[in-house]
């Protein structure tokens, strides 16, 4: 299986962390919190729909609410496929970090 890109990894993790509460805004906030950078609200929809196309995410519809102009929320959930992909990334991350000599990080 093709490796996830970094942004895909971050978003999948956000969705996993949020569990049943993962929709556009919450994902965006979670991603911002995790990376420490502000994200344009539109910027996550591209990766989200790519992940959806790859069957790593599935969507469900919530109830329409007035503060959303009568539109329903689209909730994202990991598919088993998505879970496996995260596990794979995690293994790889662990492996590539494990045998590295101690890095001297420059203080900025």
């Amino acid at each position: 299986m093709k490796l996830l890109s970094r942004i895909e990894e971050i978003i999948l993790l956000a969705v996993w962390r949020l569990q049943d509460e993962a929709y556009g805004i919450s994902i965006c906030e979670e991603v911002a919190r995790a990376t420490g950078e502000t994200w344009q609200p539109g910027a996550i929809y591209g990766p989200l729909s790519r992940l959806h196309r790859k069957r790593l995410l599935k969507t469900t519809r919530g109830e329409p609410t007035p503060e959303r102009g009568g539109r329903s929320k689209t909730y994202y959930h990991l598919t088993p496929h998505g879970r496996r992909a995260l596990q794979q990334v995690r293994r790889i991350n662990a492996r590539i970090w494990s045998d590295i000599p101690v890095l001297e990080f420059d203080t900025p």
Binding site: G69, R71, S72, T74
Partner: protein, 855 residues
């Protein structure tokens, strides 16, 4: 939804966003955005929130546009590839399509160039919009008549009395001999008021515009004329001799604004006032019309109001007829006659022909691409199955048509370059292919329009194939909607037949005119203006020439008898027995020598022509033509006294009617006075040894006037010139017709090829079952002949109507015989059958085994 009430984001922005978004994610994303908007609005106020919302829209736009461009380019690339492959695979069809469109486009370009040239007349004068030419309109029980010449007093009086009129210019040009030392040329000398220079924005190369024509004996030359006489010398202050009348001093060298003009050409200009000392003309006269008159209005003047004001100024001077002054804008001089009609008709006729040829080309494309639609059905089916929408398919086929049209446009440019010199000779023009942005844009637009028009129907037809049937292998009936194709073929041929009839009618009419007995012998009669020394000793000059056997006779006239120079109106004509009710709108006046009858082979209906044996004839005689006698209501005309203007005489004879104009106009009543204004020599030659006779004439004149150079013309040539417009129209219509038929046949050829191909197996089976070759050719040709016959039925009434309208412009015209119509129909049928027969024969002669081998 009202955004204020609900506190939602701007509706417009939402709409734009939803347009830009992928439909699948739109619901969730838009909802998220709105939620954020509300959060913002609650925290920072609605303005901040709106800013945020719009910034999201702005962020989305570039990507969306990029996507659009990217995918459209990809699709276009694909379309082009497919189109190219298709064209390569079906070379004949593509050639027919491109060729037909290219010919149509080339026709359009040539005709548009011609139209542009015609519309461009007189636009070179900066004041063109303000300049009007005056006409007189006579209304009487005898009908309405326009006169292009006005009395001398009219122009100056108008300029003086009406503040809206800036200037008036009286203008007339004459063909005079102008001599300097031993150089003598015939020049067109214009007599005009000095205001001419300002009105027509004449540029002075030398001399002073204010004083150039201040004195009567001054003369102004055009640059070219000056070079002819003076070469590199300074012409100012030099003198030239006008006829044998007087010496004129050159005071200016002028240059007219460039561009085509309806103004009469001239080589030199003299003040209009010369009319008075020269011929004793009364320049305060209000009655006799002799001069062209132009007026220039103030730029802010309302032309319509002015024309109403001045309409009646001549009426007080005419008691028994109604006369109105009419203003005709200079810019309309070229294309519109003051009486209505004019060249504008031909602008329409030619444009129509060009459009029809283009239309036939477009029809070809529609026809052939729909006929062959079954060939593309599988492609359409596959595309549809893969998710192509109808709109995408329509766009694909339209792009194909446009691509083809652009190819055709490129070819058309080449064709135009190739044909333009020929077309110029034909139309007597000096057209060039314009390269300015506007023209190129217009041409591209026409080409695109042609592509879209011809692609539209096939695009909708082709994209409508249901994919399932096609892909399952159910044969597609391309004959299902072939009625549309039939209509196209029928209209193509109807157009062609219409044009054939048109050109046949024009041919017949011109042949009729040429063949009609004019009643006057114009062949081998040469004509030139009379110069001073010769006119003084004309009798001896005449006797010396007439002694030569190659010369029939020498005579003098007031004007070459192929055009009438002088026309009197009702009141100017008086005769014994004239009653108050007798009014003849136009009465021709002519002057000549007694030898006129011999030189021109006239026949007398009664009495005799002027004769040297009756000296009284020359002082007090007049000859009328039959029309004059009839219109004047004279039972026994001989001996009656007739007066026109200041000429008067007793009728000594009646000459049989003869034409002095083109056959467009009816024969006018005519009075011939001996010796009236005779300043033109006509010499009748026997037709043998013409060069010898001409050099003899020149040598003889040189005995009187050394250095004379003979510049003469033949009358039949001059008459031909008068028919030149019709000749040009004939030629252009002929070419248009040929091209239309050619393009239509191209299409028919393609269609026949397609039909033959489609029926290959049917033909093979028929042959095996014993059908003869002739039978199969007949089978394949029958359909097409039926269409052509139907086309005849449509074309005939339209052509009949158009031909009648055109012919009614001629006073003498050939009858509209049914033969023309039958001939045109037969011609179209034969051409169509010949076109089809090649394909039919090929199909019929093919070995049936080849076609059935794989069955």
């Amino acid at each position: 939804m009202n955004e204020r009430e609900h506190g939602g984001p701007p509706a417009l922005a939402t709409m734009i966003l939803s347009r830009l978004m992928d439909r699948r994610t739109a619901e969730g994303a838009l909802g998220d955005l709105e939620e954020r908007y509300r959060t913002h609005a609650a925290h920072d106020g609605p303005t901040r929130a709106r800013c945020f919302y719009w910034s999201q829209v702005a962020a989305a736009v570039p990507g969306a546009i990029g996507n659009l461009v990217y995918w459209n380019t990809v699709m276009l690339g694909n379309t082009l590839t497919v189109a190219m492959r298709n064209m390569k695979r079906h070379k004949v069809f593509s050639a027919i399509n491109v060729g037909g469109l290219a010919i149509g486009l080339a026709c359009c370009v040539l005709i548009m160039l011609w139209v542009r040239n015609e519309l461009g007349y007189d636009r070179g004068y900066p004041h063109a919009r303000e300049i009007h030419r005056l006409y007189r309109q006579f209304d009487s029980s005898d009908g309405r008549r326009f006169s292009s010449v006005n009395p001398a007093a009219l122009g100056p009086a108008l300029a003086a009395d009406y503040p809206e009129i800036v200037d008036a210019v009286r203008f007339m040009n004459y063909n005079w001999s102008v001599t300097r030392d031993d150089q003598c040329f015939n020049e067109l000398v214009a007599l005009a008021d000095p205001a001419f220079f300002d009105m027509f924005s004449v540029r002075f190369l030398l001399g002073d515009r204010e004083t150039a024509l201040a004195d009567l004996p001054n003369i102004v030359l055009t640059g070219e004329t000056a070079r002819k006489y003076f070469g590199d010398e300074d012409p100012i202050g030099q003198t030239v001799r006008i006829m044998d009348w007087y010496d004129a001093k050159v005071t200016g060298i002028i240059e007219m604004p460039t561009g085509n003009t309806t103004l009469r050409p001239f080589d030199a200009m003299i003040d209009f006032g010369v009319h008075k000392p020269l011929w004793g003309r009364d320049l305060e006269d209000w009655k006799v019309g002799n001069y062209l008159t132009y007026i220039r209005l103030r730029p802010d003047a309302d032309a319509h109001a002015v024309s109403e004001k001045i309409a009646g100024v001549l009426q007080p001077h005419f008691s028994d007829t109604s006369v109105a002054v009419r203003m005709h804008p200079l810019l309309k001089e070229r294309l519109h006659d003051v009486a209505g009609g004019g060249m504008i008709t031909y602008v329409y006729v030619f444009s129509t022909i060009a459009l029809l040829v283009l239309l036939i080309g477009c029809f070809n494309y529609m026809n052939l691409s729909t006929a062959r639609s079954s060939g593309r059905a599988v492609e359409v089916g596959v595309r549809k199955v893969l998710g192509a929408g109808r709109g995408q398919l329509v766009r694909q086929f339209l792009s194909e048509a446009v691509l083809l049209a652009l190819l055709a446009a490129g070819l058309a440019v080449g064709l135009v370059q190739l044909l333009l010199p020929h077309f110029n000779r034909l139309a007597l023009k000096d057209l060039a292919v314009p390269v300015d942005a506007g023209s190129i844009l217009a041409f591209t637009a026409v080409a695109l329009a042609a592509g879209l028009a011809s692609g539209s129907y096939p695009a909708f037809r082709l994209s409508s194939h249901p994919p399932v049937g096609v892909l399952r292998g159910v044969p597609l009936s391309s004959g299902g909607k072939s009625w549309f194709r039939r209509i196209l073929v029928v209209s193509q041929f109807a157009i062609s037949i219409f044009l054939i009839i048109g050109s046949l009618v024009i041919h017949r009419q011109l042949d009729y005119i040429r063949g009609k007995d004019l009643g006057i012998e114009l062949e081998n009669v040469m004509v030139f203006p009379l110069s001073g020394p010769v006119s003084n000793q004309f009798e001896s000059f005449r006797d010396r020439l007439e002694a030569d056997p190659t010369i029939v006779g020498v005579t003098r006239v007031n004007a070459p008898p192929v055009r009438r120079e002088s026309t009197a109106s009702g009141e100017d004509v008086g005769w014994e027995g004239k009653t108050a009710g007798d009014y003849i709108a136009g009465f021709g006046v002519m002057g000549c020598d007694p030898s006129f009858e011999r030189v021109f082979g006239l026949e007398m209906a009664a009495g005799r022509f002027f004769s040297a044996d009756h000296p009284g004839d020359l002082s007090d005689g007049v000859v009328l033509n039959e029309t004059a006698v009839r219109r004047m209501g004279l039972d026994s005309p001989l001996g009656k006294r007739v007066s026109i203007w200041d000429s008067t005489g007793r009728v000594i004879g009646v000459v049989k009617d003869f034409h002095v104009q083109t056959l467009r106009d009816e024969i006018m009543p005519l009075a011939i006075f001996p010796g009236w204004g005779i300043d033109t020599v006509c010499i009748g030659l026997t037709g043998e040894a013409i060069p010898t006779a001409m050099s003899l004439i020149e040598r003889t004149i040189r005995d009187y006037e050394p250095g004379y150079r003979l510049e003469s013309r033949f009358l039949d040539e001059m008459l031909d010139d008068q028919y030149a417009p019709e000749e040009r129209i004939r030629a252009i219509v002929d070419y248009g017709t040929s091209l239309a038929i050619f393009v239509a046949c191209l299409g028919l050829y393609g269609l026949a090829a397609y039909t033959a191909e489609r029926r290959t197996k049917e033909i093979a089976v028929r042959k095996i079952l014993g059908a003869s070759v002739a039978g199969i050719v007949l089978l394949l040709s029958r359909d097409f002949s039926r269409w052509v016959l139907l086309a005849n039925l449509i074309a005939w009434p339209v052509a009949w109507y158009a031909a009648r309208r055109w012919l009614s412009g001629f006073a003498y015209h050939a009858d509209l015989s049914p033969v023309v119509f039958l001939l045109a129909g037969a011609l179209a049928l034969v051409i169509a059958l010949l076109t089809v027969s090649y394909q039919s024969c090929r199909a019929a002669l093919r070995n049936p085994a080849d076609a059935l081998r794989y069955e």
